[in-house]
C-alpha cells in the first residue's frame, strides 16, 4: 500500500506541472490509473490502448528471440564453424554460442530503438503537455526486427529520431500519423544509407567487417590467409540475380533459418503471431488474409507470364518471376510486413470494406515491386508505405457508398 499512496501523493503534487506527463507515463505502467467516468457511460470495457499495444508486443517476442538465435547461427554458419541446422529444432541452431552472439548484436538495437524513440516521445509529451501515448511501444519493438543485424547504432538512432518526429509527431502524435512510423524509419535507413541496407554483405553479422578486413589486407599486401569473404546473401537477393534459391530448402524458408533482417525470417513464428493477433481480435484478419491473396494473385500472374514464354531465362526478371507463386509468402519480409505493419490500425484503411481493398493491394504491389525493383529486391516496405498514403482515399470511396445510399433514400422519397 505504501508505494501506491506515495505515488498517488507525488502525482497530486506535480499535477499540472510540465513534467507531469513524464511522471504519469511511468506511473501508469505500474498502476492502472484511478480515473473514473463522468457522464456518458458510467462503466467501461476492460481494454485500453496499453493492453492493445502489449498484445502486439507479446506477439513480436517469439520473433525477437528467434531472430537473436538466428543472428548467431547465420554468423557461425557463414564462418563455417557449425553444420547447417536440420529443421526448426536443429541442434546447431538453439545453442548458447548463437544466443551470445545474437544477444550481443540484437539487444543494443532494441535498447537504442526504445531509448531514443521513447526519449523523443517524452520530450514531445512534455512540450505539448499531453500524455505519453503508447504507439511507440510497438514501433520500438518492430524497428530492431526489420533492420540488418549489423546496422550501426548511431544510424539507427538518427533514423528513429527522423521517423518519430517526421513520421508521427508532426502530424500530432499517435493516432494521427499517415505513414507507419516503423516503416518510415526503415525507409529512411534504406534511402540514406543504402550500402548498409542492401547487398549481400549486410545480412550476416561479421560479413561487412570481414570484407573491410580483406580490403585492408589487400591494400597492405599482406597475406589473405584465414580471411575468406563471408557471403550472406538473402534468397531474394539471389533470386533477383537469377541465381536460384541458393541451397535453402522450402522448409528452411518456412522455419526462418535463412539470412535476412533480424526478426522477419521465420514465417512459422509470424504465422503463429498472426493467428494470435486474430484470435485476440487485435489484428485485422481482413488485412492479413486479403494481403496474402493479393500476393498470391500477383505471383500467379508472373508464373503465368513465364509459362507463356513471354520472358526468357536471359531476362533479369526471370529469377523472381519464375519463383513459385506461394514461395513469395515465405521469403523476404512479406509475412512480417503483412502481419505486423500492414495491420497498423492508424495507417491502414479504417473501414472493413476498405481493409479488403487495402490488404489486397498491399500484397499485390509488394510482389510487383519485389520483381521489378532492380535496386532492392524487397517490395513490402514500399508497398505498405504506398498504400498507407492511399488508405484514406480508399476509405473515402467506401464511406461515399454509405453517403450515396442515404442520398438515394431521400431521392426515392421525394420523387
Amino acid at each position: 500500500m505504501g508505494l501506491k499512496s506515495n505515488l498517488h501523493n507525488l502525482k497530486e503534487k506535480y499535477k499540472g506541472t510540465k513534467m507531469a506527463p513524464a511522471f504519469n507515463a511511468i506511473h501508469t505502467f505500474l498502476y492502472l490509473p484511478n480515473e473514473t467516468t463522468h457522464n456518458g457511460t458510467h462503466i467501461k470495457a476492460a481494454d485500453d490502448l496499453k493492453r492493445t499495444m502489449n498484445i502486439v508486443i507479446m506477439a513480436l517476442v517469439p520473433c525477437l528471440i528467434f531472430g537473436i538465435f538466428n543472428a548467431g547461427y547465420q554468423h557461425y554458419l557463414a564462418l563455417g564453424e557449425i553444420e547447417a541446422a536440420n529443421g526448426f529444432l536443429g541442434s546447431s541452431f538453439w545453442t548458447m554460442d548463437n544466443l551470445i552472439v545474437g544477444l550481443w548484436q540484437v539487444l543494443p538495437l532494441v535498447v537504442v530503438s526504445y531509448g531514443v524513440g521513447l526519449a523523443v516521445e517524452f520530450v514531445f509529451a512534455v512540450i505539448k503537455g499531453h500524455e505519453v501515448e503508447e504507439g511507440y511501444l510497438v514501433t520500438g519493438m518492430l524497428v530492431p526486427l526489420i533492420v540488418p543485424v549489423d546496422t550501426p547504432l548511431w544510424m539507427l538512432a538518427v533514423a528513429v529520431v527522423f521517423g518519430v518526429v517526421i513520421g508521427k509527431e508532426v502530424f500530432g502524435g499517435t493516432g494521427m500519423n499517415i505513414l507507419n512510423p516503423a516503416l518510415t524509419i526503415r525507409a529512411f535507413l534504406f534511402f540514406a544509407y543504402p550500402t548498409w541496407m542492401s547487398g549481400d554483405k549486410v545480412w550476416v553479422h561479421g560479413a561487412k567487417a570481414r570484407d573491410e578486413a580483406i580490403a585492408v589486407a589487400k591494400e597492405a599486401g599482406s597475406s589473405l590467409e584465414g580471411l575468406d569473404a563471408i557471403s550472406g546473401e538473402t534468397i531474394l537477393g539471389s533470386l533477383a540475380q537469377n541465381k536460384g534459391l541458393l541451397d535453402h530448402s522450402v522448409m528452411d524458408m518456412f522455419y526462418g533459418i535463412i539470412p535476412g533482417s533480424v526478426g522477419e525470417t521465420s514465417t512459422l513464428l509470424i504465422l503463429l503471431a498472426g493467428l494470435f493477433l486474430i484470435f485476440t481480435k487485435i489484428g485485422s484478419w481482413r488485412i492479413m488474409l486479403s494481403s496474402a491473396i493479393g500476393a498470391l494473385v500477383m505471383g500467379l500472374i508472373f508464373n503465368g507470364v513465364i509459362s507463356s514464354g513471354l520472358i526468357t531465362e536471359s531476362s533479369k526478371f526471370y529469377g523472381l518471376m519464375s519463383t513459385e507463386f506461394w514461395h513469395h509468402l515465405l521469403i523476404g519480409g512479406f509475412a512480417f510486413g503483412t502481419v505486423f505493419m500492414a495491420t497498423d490500425p492508424v495507417t491502414a484503411s479504417q473501414t472493413n470494406k476498405g481493409k479488403w481493398i487495402y490488404g489486397f493491394l498491399v500484397g499485390f504491389i509488394s510482389i510487383m515491386i519485389r520483381v521489378f525493383n532492380p535496386a532492392y529486391p524487397e517490395g513490402v516496405m514500399l508497398a505498405i508505405l504506398l498504400m498507407n498514403v492511399f488508405a484514406p482515399t480508399i476509405d473515402h470511396y467506401v464511406v461515399q457508398g454509405n453517403v450515396k445510399r442515404r442520398l438515394k433514400r431521400l431521392k426515392v422519397k421525394t420523387a
Binding site: L7, L32, T36, D47, T52, K355
Partner: protein, 449 residues
C-alpha cells in the same frame, strides 16, 4: 405491414444487481426537484416564483424559444427554492410537496378531437416534453408534423427496468395515448416489443414490430434506422413507453399524475427491486433503505449505466428516467492493471481478457475508466456493436472537427447520443462518444436548425 427487427451487432452487458420483480411504494418524498438540464436546449422562463403554491399540473416554467411548451409541476406544494448557476441560469426548482396531493383538472379528453386539439391539450397539460424528436434528440417541435412516431417497448440496456413488468395493467392508458398520438403523424406509430407478453403487443392504431438481438436492439434509434430512417428535412418523434401511461391518465382522468414504477438496480444495492414514485422525487427515499451504504463509495445514476446521469446523494429522479442504478466507484489504482489477465471485467476483445469464456456470467463493474484518454487508434471494433447503417468512427470524427456537411452526409439526422453508448463503452481510446455526438447535434441545431 409489421416487420420484425433482427440485429446481430451489439453487446449485452450483464451486470449484477438486476431488480427483483416486486413493486414497493417508495417513501413519499418531501421535496420534488425539477432540473431544466433534463430538457436539452430548453431555456426556461420561470412562471412559479419562490413561495408560489402549486397544484400538480400547474405551470412552473415554459420554453423561452417556444412559449407553447410548458413544464408543469409533478406535485402539489410550494416552491421553496430556485437554485441558480452562473449568469443566473436556473439549475433546479425545488418544490416542497403537500401532505395531501391536489391536482389541477384538465378534464377528460374527447378522443375524437382533431390534431390541433390534441396538440393544444398535450401542450397546456405539460405532457408535451415527453415527446422528443429526431433529428437532434430534443423536445419535439409542435409546429412540425412527424413522418412517424416510434415507441420502444423493449429495454435492452444493462439493468434496465423491464417494461413488460412495469407497464402491465396499464393497457387502457397506453391505448388511449397511442390512439391520440396516431393523430399527430401522417405516417404511423411504430412500437417495438421484446416479447408477445408486452402490454403493448395488442395496441390498435399502431404497427407492432418484434425485436430480436443484443442491446441496442431496444433502443428506439435502432428501430428508426431499421424501419424508416430519418432523411434530411424529415422528422420523427419518439416517446418513452412509461410516459405513455402518464399521458394516458391525463387523457382519461384529466389529472397530470407523473407516477412511475422505477427499478432500483446495481451491484451496490442489497435489495434491488421496483418502486412506485414520482418524477423529481429524491432518490434518497429509495436508495438508502435498500442496502446502499450512506457513506459508501458509490455512484448513483438516474438512468442506466450507459447513458444515465450521475446524481449527488441528494439528487432526484430525472424527468425521462425509470431506473436508478447504484454501482461502486472505481477511483482506485490497480497494480499492473494494463497487462495482467482480466477475468472480472467485460471486454469484446480476447486480449487476455476472458469475458468471452463465459458469456452468461454477470459482472460487478465499477466506474473506473480502465485506462486513459487517447486519440482514436483502433479501428473496426465499434462496427461490431453498432447496428445502424452509419460509420461510427467517421461520424464521431466529423463531429470533432465540426464539418457540418460531412456530419449531415454521414447520417447525423438519424442519431442520438444514446446510440453511441456501446461504442463508448468498448472504446479502447476512452473517448466520450456520447458527449461528442451531443455537441455535434447542438452545433447542427444552432447552424442549421
Amino acid at each position: 405491414m409489421s416487420k420484425d427487427i433482427k440485429i446481430k451487432k451489439g453487446l449485452d452487458i450483464k451486470l449484477v444487481g438486476e431488480a427483483e420483480k416486486t413493486v414497493e411504494q417508495a417513501i413519499i418524498s418531501n421535496f420534488c426537484t425539477i432540473r431544466p438540464e433534463d430538457f436539452h436546449s430548453v431555456i426556461p422562463k420561470l412562471v412559479a416564483k419562490e413561495g408560489a403554491t402549486l397544484k400538480a399540473g400547474d405551470v412552473i416554467f415554459y420554453d423561452k424559444s417556444n412559449e407553447d411548451i410548458k413544464f408543469v409541476s409533478p406535485v402539489s406544494g410550494t416552491v421553496v427554492e430556485v437554485q441558480r448557476g452562473p449568469k443566473r441560469r436556473i439549475d433546479a426548482i425545488k418544490i416542497q410537496a403537500d401532505k395531501e396531493q391536489s391536482f389541477k383538472d384538465f378534464g377528460a379528453f374527447n378522443m375524437d378531437s382533431d390534431t390541433a386539439a390534441v396538440k393544444a391539450h398535450l401542450l397546456t397539460s405539460g405532457c408535451w416534453p415527453f415527446i422528443k424528436q429526431r433529428p437532434y434528440d430534443v423536445i419535439a417541435n409542435p409546429e412540425k408534423s412527424p413522418k412517424a412516431i416510434f415507441i420502444s417497448g423493449y429495454a435492452s440496456a444493462p439493468l434496465a427496468a423491464d417494461l413488460d413488468f412495469v407497464l402491465s395493467g396499464k393497457e387502457a392508458e397506453l391505448q388511449a395515448t397511442v390512439s391520440v398520438l396516431s393523430k399527430l403523424t401522417e405516417g404511423q406509430v411504430h412500437i417495438g416489443i421484446g416479447s408477445n407478453n408486452s402490454p403493448l403487443a395488442g395496441m390498435n392504431d399502431a404497427v407492432i414490430h418484434k425485436v430480436f438481438g443484443p442491446h441496442p436492439a431496444g433502443n428506439v434509434g435502432t428501430h428508426i434506422n431499421k424501419i424508416d430512417p430519418v432523411n434530411k428535412g424529415e422528422t420523427v418523434w419518439t416517446i418513452n413507453a412509461q410516459d405513455l401511461v402518464v399521458i394516458g391518465e391525463l387523457l382519461l382522468t384529466g389529472k397530470f399524475n407523473p407516477e412511475r414504477v422505477v427499478a432500483l438496480a446495481g451491484s451496490s444495492v442489497k435489495k434491488p427491486r421496483y418502486f412506485k414514485t414520482r418524477i423529481g422525487s429524491e432518490v434518497a427515499t429509495m436508495v438508502y433503505d435498500n442496502g446502499v451504504e450512506k457513506d459508501g463509495n458509490d455512484r448513483i445514476i438516474s438512468g442506466n449505466v450507459l447513458s444515465g446521469k450521475q446524481l449527488k446523494p441528494d439528487g432526484s429522479l430525472g424527468f425521462y428516467d425509470n431506473v436508478i442504478t447504484v454501482i461502486p466507484e472505481g477511483n482506485d489504482y490497480e497494480l499492473f492493471g494494463w497487462n495482467k489477465p482480466i477475468f472480472n471485467k467485460v471486454s469484446t476483445s480476447r486480449a487476455f481478457t476472458f469475458s468471452w469464456l463465459n458469456p452468461k456470467k454477470k459482472y460487478d463493474l465499477n466506474t473506473n475508466t480502465n485506462g486513459e484518454h487517447r486519440a482514436f487508434v483502433v479501428t473496426g471494433s465499434y462496427e461490431q456493436v453498432f447496428p445502424l447503417d452509419i460509420y461510427p468512427m467517421q461520424i464521431l470524427k466529423a463531429c470533432m472537427y465540426q464539418d457540418l456537411d460531412e456530419m449531415e452526409a454521414l447520417g447525423m439526422y438519424e442519431v442520438a447520443p444514446e446510440d453511441f453508448a456501446l461504442t463508448e463503452f468498448i472504446c479502447v481510446s476512452k473517448q466520450p462518444h456520447q458527449d461528442i455526438i451531443r455537441k455535434g447535434l447542438d452545433l447542427m441545431l444552432k447552424e442549421i436548425g
